[in-house]
C-alpha cells in the first residue's frame, strides 16, 4: 500500500483536522496537525475546554453524533481512519489504538471480575479460547505490577484502590499490543506518590513494547517528566509545538509563557504567580484572529483580526503561532519591569 520510494509515513498523522459541534458558531478543533512516531511520547497540553479530549475522541472514532469533521484527515500508518465504518473502527479499537481514561472507576465494568474483563478484550480481537485469554490477562497483570495477580483475577474493580484500577486500565489497553496508546489525563485522579508509580510504569512499558503514547494532560509537570514532544492547545488550536526541552526552556507563545508562569514551583518562592486574565472566550465570542488575543497582554488590532500561522522557528521542529515571537525582538523590558 505504501510506495517503497516514498518515505515511511509516521505512525500517527493528524492533518489540519477541523471539528465542529452542531449549533456552535465556531469549530471546537480548528486546524489541528500532529505527528507521532513509534516509540515516542507526544503530550497534548491545555486547560479545560481547549479541545484536547475532543482530539482523542476523534482519533478513537468516538466523537458524538453532534460533532462533525469539516476537513482534515487522521492517518494511522498512512491509512485514513476517517472513512472507516463503525464495524471497521471497532476492529481497530483495542487492537491498534487503545485508550486509558482518567477515571478508572467509571471505565471498568463493575459487574465483571478483572480476569473476565481482560480476557474479553483478548477474545474480541484474537482467535483464542477463554483459557488462553485468561492466561494472557494474568501475564499482563504481572507486567503492570499488580500484587498477588492470581487473586486479583477474581476481584471486582471496587475492591481495588485508585492506583491499582489505573494499572488494570493500562493492562487492558496493552493486552493486544497496540501501536498507539492514548492516555487521557491518566494520573489526574491519583495522589502524587501513585502518580509517580504510574508514570514510571508507562515509561517502562513503552520502552518494552515500542508503542507510541499520546498523552493528554493539563499538568506541565507530568509533561516534563514523560514527553518527548509537546503540543500546547488553546481554544481548539495548537499555539506552540516542539521538543519538550524547546517548550520548557524556550517557550515562545504568550499563552505558554503565562501558563508556565502560573505554575508554582517546588523551588523556593519567587514572587507572586503570573496570571492570565479572564477566561477562554465562549464559542459565540471567539475572535476572528488569534483566539488568545482576548487575554493576551501583547495583542493589537492585527492579532484580533488575523490568525497567526503556526510557523517554524529557524527550521527547527519548534513551531509557534504568534506574530510577536520571540517577544524580546518586539518588546523591551522597561527599567521598572526589569526589577519586578
Amino acid at each position: 500500500m505504501t510506495n517503497p520510494d516514498e518515505p515511511v509515513p509516521p505512525l500517527l498523522h493528524i492533518k489540519d483536522l477541523q471539528v465542529q459541534f452542531s449549533g456552535s458558531p465556531t469549530s471546537v478543533l480548528d486546524g489541528i496537525s500532529l505527528q507521532l512516531e513509534a516509540g515516542k511520547t507526544l503530550a497534548l497540553v491545555g486547560e479545560s475546554g481547549c479541545g484536547k479530549s475532543v482530539t482523542s475522541l476523534a482519533l478513537m472514532g468516538l466523537l458524538p453524533s453532534s460533532a462533525k469533521v469539516l476537513q482534515g484527515d487522521i492517518r494511522l500508518n498512512g491509512d485514513s481512519l476517517l472513512g472507516l465504518s463503525e464495524r471497521q473502527y471497532a476492529d481497530l479499537r483495542g487492537l491498534e489504538l487503545a485508550m486509558i481514561f482518567q477515571e478508572p472507576m467509571t471505565s471498568l465494568n463493575p459487574a465483571l471480575t478483572l480476569g473476565d474483563q481482560l480476557a474479553e478484550a483478548v477474545m474480541r480481537h484474537q482467535n483464542t479460547n477463554k483459557k488462553q485469554a485468561r492466561a494472557q490477562a494474568l501475564e499482563l497483570l504481572k507486567k503492570v505490577q499488580i500484587p498477588a495477580p492470581e487473586l486479583r483475577m477474581e476481584a471486582y474493580p471496587h475492591q481495588l484502590s485508585g492506583g491499582m484500577r489505573q494499572r488494570v486500565m493500562i493492562a487492558m489497553a496493552l493486552i493486544n499490543h497496540p501501536q498507539l496508546l492514548i492516555a487521557d489525563e491518566p494520573t489526574t485522579a491519583l495522589d502524587v506518590t501513585i502518580q509517580a508509580q504510574i508514570l514510571a510504569l508507562l515509561n517502562r512499558i513503552q520502552k518494552e513494547t515500542g508503542s507510541a503514547l499520546l498523552l493528554i494532560t493539563h499538568d506541565l509537570g507530568v509533561v516534563a517528566e514523560v514527553a518527548d514532544s509537546v503540543a500546547v492547545m488553546y481554544a481548539g488550536q495548537i499555539v506552540e509545538q516542539g521538543e519538550v526541552a524547546d517548550i520548557f526552556n524556550n517557550p515562545q507563545h504568550p499563552y505558554t509563557i503565562g501558563l508556565m508562569g502560573s505554575m508554582p514551583s517546588l523551588a523556593p518562592r519567587q514572587g507572586a504567580l503570573s496570571t492570565i486574565p479572564g477566561a477562554v472566550p465562549l464559542p459565540r465570542d471567539m475572535p476572528a484572529g488569534c483566539r488568545f488575543s482576548t487575554r493576551c497582554p501583547f495583542a493589537d488590532t492585527r492579532c484580533h483580526q488575523q490568525r497567526p500561522p503556526l510557523r517554524p522557528l529557524h527550521d527547527s521542529p519548534h513551531h509557534v503561532a504568534c506574530f510577536y515571537a520571540p517577544l524580546e525582538n518586539f518588546f523591551a523590558l522597561s527599567a521598572e519591569g526589569a526589577c519586578a
Binding site: T193, Q197, A227, F248, S262, M263, L266, P268, L327, A340
Partner: protein
C-alpha cells in the same frame, strides 16, 4: 516573617474515630481517621496540612473548626477550650472561623443567587441589617474577590469554576473571619485559574490580616503559599517544619518520598530518592509500630513494633521517625535547576505588559472579556 507567636487555634491530642455499620453478629468496623494530633496554629501564619487521600488531613481540618466533633482531645481558640463554649458563643465563633471548600460546583446551592449565597452569613450573624445595606455589602465583597458587582443576581451555574471559587471565598469573607481554612481550595481548578485564586487568597490574607490553614495535596502550591507545613500520614503528623526546611531538607522518609514524587518543571531532571512502593494501608487495618513501615525503605524491627513519637529535633521542627538522625547523612537533597534565561525574560515581559494593560483599563477587577456586552 515576623510572627507574633501566639496560637490562635490549638489542638491537643485530637482524635476522630468513624464507625462503620454494625450488625447483629459483628462489632462495627472502626476507622481512626485522626489519631492523637497536637498542633498549634500561630496568629497570622499560613499553615499547610499535606498528605495523600486517606491521611486524615481534611478530617483534622474539620475537627479544628468544630465542623466535626472530636472523639477525644480538645481544641482551644485564643486559649479557651471550645468544649466549654455555650451554644450562642459557639455560633458567634463560627464568624471567626470560616472554610473554603474544594469543589466549587458542589459547595454552592444551585437555587440561590450569588447575593443570597454571599449575603446569608450577613443576616445569619446579624452583621448587616436591612436589605439595601446587605446588597451593598455583597457588592463590596464581590469586588473584593475580583468579580463584577453586577453578578449578584445570577445563579451559580452561570459561572466558571474559578468564578465559583471566588463566590465561595466571598461567602467565607462575609462574616469578617479571623481564620480561613481552605480545604483543597485550588485543586479542582485549571492551572491559570489556580494561579488567580492563589494570588487572590494571598492578597486577602494580607489585606484582612487573616490566619490561613490550607489542606492540600498539591506540593508546589503549598511551597508557594505557606509558612509552615504539617505532613500527615494515616491520621498522624509525621513531620512539622517551616516550609523551606521541609522542602529543602525533609527529615522523615515519607516526606522525602512525597516531595520526590512531585513532578519537576524541568525535563530530564531525575530525583535521587526511590519511588514509594505500594498504596497507603487501609486505615481500618492500621499497621503496628510506625505506620509508614510497610512502605519505608529504611524500616527496622524497632519501626515495626514501636510507634515513634513526634519529637522536637530543633527549633520549630518536629519529626516522628526512629531513624531520622542516622538517615540524615545519606540524604541527597533535591536540586531544582532555575528556569531558563529565555523564559525568565519573556515572563518578565509578559508581566510588564499585563500590568500596563491593567492600568489602562478603567475597572481593574473586570477582565476585558467580562465587560463585553
Amino acid at each position: 516573617m515576623n510572627l507574633t507567636r501566639r496560637p490562635i487555634l490549638e489542638a491537643t491530642g485530637l482524635s476522630k474515630v468513624f464507625k462503620g455499620p454494625s450488625s447483629l453478629f459483628s462489632k462495627p468496623k472502626t476507622v481512626q481517621a485522626v489519631d492523637r494530633v497536637s498542633l498549634r496554629v500561630w496568629h497570622g501564619e499560613t499553615l499547610a496540612i499535606v498528605g495523600e487521600s486517606g491521611s486524615g488531613k481534611s478530617t483534622f481540618g474539620r475537627l479544628l473548626l468544630q465542623l466535626l466533633s472530636a472523639s477525644d482531645g480538645d481544641v482551644f481558640y485564643e486559649g479557651e477550650n471550645l468544649k466549654l463554649f455555650s451554644a450562642p458563643r459557639m455560633k458567634n465563633l463560627r464568624r471567626d472561623l470560616q472554610i473554603i471548600f474544594q469543589d466549587p460546583f458542589a459547595s454552592l446551592n444551585p437555587r440561590m443567587t450569588v447575593e443570597e449565597i454571599v449575603g446569608e452569613p450577613l443576616w445569619l450573624h446579624n452583621i448587616v441589617c436591612g436589605k439595601a445595606d446587605r446588597q451593598a455589602k455583597v457588592r463590596e465583597l464581590l469586588t473584593t474577590v475580583g468579580l463584577p458587582a453586577a453578578f449578584s443576581n445570577r445563579y451559580p451555574h452561570e459561572f466558571s469554576g474559578g468564578q465559583r471559587q471566588r463566590i465561595g471565598i466571598a461567602r467565607a469573607l462575609a462574616s469578617s473571619p479571623k481564620l480561613l481554612l481552605g480545604d483543597e481550595p485550588v485543586s479542582a481548578l485549571d492551572v491559570s485559574v489556580q494561579a488567580q485564586v492563589v494570588n487572590l487568597l494571598e492578597n486577602l490574607k494580607q489585606q484582612f490580616g487573616l490566619t490561613m490553614i490550607v489542606v492540600a495535596h498539591g506540593l508546589a502550591v503549598i511551597r508557594h503559599m505557606s509558612d509552615r507545613v504539617a505532613v500527615m500520614y494515616l491520621g498522624q503528623i509525621v513531620e512539622l517544619a517551616y516550609t523551606d526546611d521541609i522542602f529543602d531538607h525533609p527529615l522523615h522518609p515519607y516526606t522525602q518520598a512525597l516531595i520526590a514524587s512531585a513532578p519537576l518543571l524541568t525535563p530530564g531532571v531525575k530525583r535521587p530518592v526511590p519511588l514509594l512502593q505500594g498504596d497507603m494501608p487501609n486505615p481500618a487495618n492500621m499497621p503496628s509500630g510506625c505506620r509508614f513501615h510497610t512502605r519505608c525503605a529504611y524500616a527496622t524491627d524497632e519501626c515495626r513494633q514501636v510507634e515513634p513519637p513526634l519529637q522536637t529535633v530543633s527549633d520549630n521542627r518536629m519529626v516522628a521517625c526512629h531513624r531520622w538522625s542516622e538517615l540524615q547523612q545519606d540524604r541527597t537533597s533535591v536540586l531544582i535547576p532555575p528556569p531558563s534565561a529565555a523564559f525568565t525574560l519573556r515572563r518578565a515581559l509578559f508581566e510588564q505588559a499585563s500590568r500596563s494593560r491593567l492600568s489602562l483599563s478603567v475597572t481593574p477587577s473586570t477582565s476585558p472579556l467580562e465587560t463585553r456586552p
